[in-house]
Assembly symmetry: C2
Homo-oligomer: 399 residues x 2
């Protein structure tokens, strides 16, 4: 497995703050963070931040030992239950809590036909469109600097033909067409925060989504990264499908984010279910064999994705069992105990793909490094520095 | 069945060439041509024009009694077997022959991965792209005024993933992406003949094609009309599918052309065949029952399409049985005798949807007309005129 794209492998000069070479010194290089985004849903952080007790603290603590990237929920129907009364306070406090811990936050999503605000439906399409754009402006501008990454629009392949229930977003998507709506909402988000990372996100990984992306890019839609959902309640895709999906979506030469990954540690959902939401069960227990399987699948999948140069993020959807669909989909059980998948991912992220090494500089302060890109703490004697190290690093100044 | 969109229903003034009202006169209004494009493949006109005998003349004569719109073949591999030696002479003579008969001609296609020129494959992709654009310029400019309607690019949904054999066009489509290639070839065709009707054409009528068109339109591709193939060797789509396809492709509010229609009068091809070209049979006879069925299906299909306001053209692919795939797909049998489908279509086009009427003008020369849009010969006494009558017709001057 070639991981050279994840590493900085070069000769770097080490100096003191006056610019004098640190010659013949042993420099301790200790990683503190990954450039790669290892993400997870962080919905449970909201009750923790707002009114947390010991139970939530357990969850938050183990979450933070692995992940550096969080998805927070901005479902319109929930975020603004009553028109004009958005729940900004809880989201802002939670996002800032995460940011303080060094976690990058993504808002999910700004436009979606599901979990949408019912009160929108009383308006005509032109008004709905205007309110959608106002909402984008309010969130993207209002959270700028705290949240600079957004799933701008979700599941557009199905959006105009979604017929399970009437909703305001399917209406405007029918009106404007898929690419027209995507372009309108992306343009607004980009205008409000030109530096934001803006994602198109879909569970449809067929040729439909390829053609949709192709059309969007030719129409000038400012897509920063392609979001791919991979909820595998019906069984692990396997290496072949995963590599095939990666190959097809690499054609655009854009960063790829696996935005919503699920691998379960219990019984597999039957394959005849088309909309996962249709699978309603009384209980869906995690099992010892299921947990072993989940850990193996997590390992293979993360290895494949981490080794692909265009993949920049993998987000597991549920952190704790029993969240979406009640599935045993987490890294921790309902009682907050760690599952084998947690141990496996921790081993990958914090041991195997993690750098803690010492290099010896030559008489001019140079030393070769071969380390994972990310945040570092370096020290020699009483001098130290906390810094990001990447391909552009030429000199490291310790003080 | 509402056909009001096919008709001119209004009060028109009739005058002599001096502008005097033809008051209280009986005007004979006799249709000579349809505005709607009733088309058919006219590949067999080439041998007729170039070296025809009695056998070809029979075919041509019956063809011309029904159709006003012809598709001529511009398959690159055939049209330019040897690089630099296009077969312009035969195509130009045939197109002019058809034009002289009042038949509108469409060239098919300018860019396609199938029936492509093998000699292109020796070039790199940049050169292939240049030669593709040069070929478009040569044909669109060279035939301007004779052929002003083109299937610019054919079957793009499958184009970059077509893997039956290597070919130059799949290579450049992989390189540029679907929408990128479509935009490049359409822009060139439009630049060479801004008044030309330019079609995107596909057999894929799934959501893939919808999304592709959506992307193209948002990317500013100058598509004049959406081309839909409907080769039904595996059985008639039926009203439900036909209406569903029409509804989905009406979302773009662009003219729709049924570009390649096939309904057969023999045994139906098994449904497990995916690429129709894979069905190779020694003989595929037309049968009496099959001919009755074909005529009924032709009738229902043409009625549905003619009644849809966005449909502007229907082209049957094979005029004579035994053409593509050897199928009994024609309006005439191999011996040039007319099939029931011919009689049925003739009845629709030249009787039911055809105007031959007399109106009486009032004291100011006005009379109400309710006639199919198209070309007309009008006469009263010794005065007459040949003219087009449509929604913009206010006054008809006879001389």
């Amino acid at each position: 497995m070639d991981l050279s794209h994840r590493k900085t492998s070069k000769t770097v000069r080490f100096t003191d703050k006056s610019g004098y070479a640190l010659a013949g010194q042993q420099i301790h290089i200790k990683q503190t963070g990954h450039e790669f985004l290892f993400g997870c849903g962080a919905f449970e952080f909201i009750p923790h931040v707002m009114s947390g007790g010991e139970e939530e603290k357990q969850l938050v603590d183990s979450w933070l030992r692995i992940f550096n990237y969080a998805t927070l929920p901005f479902y319109w129907g929930n975020y603004e239950k009553t028109e004009g009364q958005p729940d900004k306070d809880a989201l802002m406090k939670t996002a800032m809590f995460l940011k303080d811990k060094g976690v990058k936050v993504k808002g999910h999503p700004l436009c979606w036909h599901t979990a949408c605000a019912d009160w929108l439906m009383k308006y005509d399409n032109e008004t709905i469109m205007k309110k959608q754009l106002d909402r984008i402006e309010r969130e993207v501008t209002g959270f700028k600097g705290v949240i600079d990454m957004w799933d701008v629009i979700n599941e557009v392949v199905i959006m105009p033909i979604f017929d399970k229930y009437d909703n305001a977003i399917t209406r405007i998507c029918k009106d404007k067409g898929r690419v027209g709506l995507i372009k309108t909402v992306f343009d607004k988000a980009h205008e409000c925060n030109p530096d934001a990372v803006l994602l198109l996100n879909d569970f449809n990984t067929s040729i439909n989504y390829e053609i949709l992306i192709d059309g969007c890019l030719n129409a000038g839609v400012p897509i920063s990264a392609i979001g791919i959902q991979s909820h595998q309640h019906q069984g692990y895709w396997g290496r072949e499908k995963l590599e095939e999906v990666l190959e097809r979506f690499s054609q655009f030469d854009l960063p790829i984010h696996f935005t919503e990954n699920t691998l379960i540690s219990g019984e597999i959902m039957p394959s005849h279910i088309v909309d996962l939401n249709d699978w309603v069960v009384e209980s869906w227990p995690t099992t010892p064999e299921g947990e072993e399987r989940q850990a193996k699948e997590i390992e293979e999948m993360y290895r494949i994705l981490f080794s692909h140069p265009l993949v920049q993020a993998i987000t597991t959807w549920d952190y704790r069992d029993g969240a979406w669909l009640g599935a045993p989909s987490g890294y921790i059980r309902k009682d907050n105990t760690l599952k084998p998948s947690y141990e496996m991912l921790h081993k990958l992220i914090k041991e195997e793909w993690w750098t803690d090494t010492t290099v010896t500089t030559d008489e001019n302060g140079f030393a070769s490094i071969d380390i994972f890109k990310g945040e570092y703490e370096l020290n020699v004697g009483s001098m130290k520095i906390q810094t990001r190290i990447g391909d552009d690093t030429e000199t490291v100044v310790l003080q």
